[in-house]
Subunit: 201 residues, 2 copies
């Protein structure tokens, strides 16, 4: 409904915002300490333009993290979570780890700038997928039912997160991480009194 | 060897530092955002005295966290880690959780102010205990040997840490935490192909 002028302005703003968020994801993905000046430069906009759209570093990090999670959710949409829940869990972990591993530096930036509550909120998409999978695995008798579902979802995310710390500490290489996470979580989800499944190779 | 004057000054300085560190542990233990002014006031010293001994908030948090871990190590020294490694692990988790639970706000402050590497370094005492216990449990055939010991130690600490997040998110109460942690970690440490032990009540 706006005049051609405001329509153009709005389109320009949207283009700038998109460029900034994309540049932020790239710069922070290489270096969690990347400065806003660096991000503005990579986006091809001035600092004034960046500050016109984002009032703080935290807002920029939040937008970059939201974008990474949107992309991540698209990838997770393609993962087959049907069939044996234990195998589905392994497939989810492999895809999920690949996403986490590709955005480790951005995750560090998010942990520094965003509250734990906001980080949890941003992960609502992945959390809902794991929750549904855990619920199905319990209903079908493959996963333990003596612990709350929310706890089990958090265990998976914590173990995945701990892999990024082990890599940072130089005690784990990225190519072993998905196996270790999967072997740990499959065992953690096993009903007491029943045998732990052999991990996928 | 110093004159009476420098001996007195040194004793005064030590008393001030002790008072500041104790006040920091108490104030940050109630509120991770407690200010340095608040801490100086609780210690009964001026801000100038505080800044004479600590150059930054991070240094104060570091000292308070070191103190909490020294106390924690003294408590962990009293935990019987002999006998069946699975029961020993449960006793360690109960004692460890009690310590973590009592210092949750201080841990939040540490996570904000200190690097992950420094936090890891401060936990060297607890980590060495878990490492020795896991190694014995593996040698005696009770814990899995298909994952690195360092990974298993980190899983225990991550799951314990995730309990603090679940409590913060209002999805877990502190009195259930030790049971959930123990039930999860015992299962996670079980050798594939063998049954998960029933968790302690």
């Amino acid at each position: 409904m706006g005049s051609k002028d405001t329509t153009t302005k709005r389109a320009d703003a949207r283009r700038s915002i998109d460029a900034i968020v994309q540049a932020a994801a790239e710069c922070l993905g290489r270096n969690p300490d990347a400065s806003l000046s660096e991000i503005a430069r990579a986006a091809g906009v001035g600092r004034v333009t960046l500050y016109a759209h984002f009032s703080s570093r935290a807002e920029v990090v939040d937008a970059a993290m939201s974008r990474a999670l949107d992309r991540g959710n698209e990838v997770l949409d393609t993962v087959d979570l049907t069939g044996d829940p234990r195998l589905a869990l392994h497939r989810y972990i492999e895809a999920g780890w690949h996403l986490v591993d590709g955005t480790r530096a951005l995750i560090v930036a998010a942990q520094r700038e965003l509250s734990p509550a906001r980080i949890l909120e941003l992960h609502a998409g992945p959390a809902a997928r794991v929750e549904a999978l855990v619920a199905r695995g319990r209903a079908e008798g493959h996963f333990r039912t003596d612990l709350p579902i929310s706890w089990m979802v958090n265990v998976l995310h914590s173990v995945m997160h701990s892999a990024t710390e082990e890599i940072r500490a130089g005690r784990l290489t990225s190519d072993h991480a998905a196996h270790h996470i999967s072997a740990t979580v499959l065992a953690a989800f096993t009903t007491p009194g029943t045998p732990v499944p052999e991990p996928a190779p």
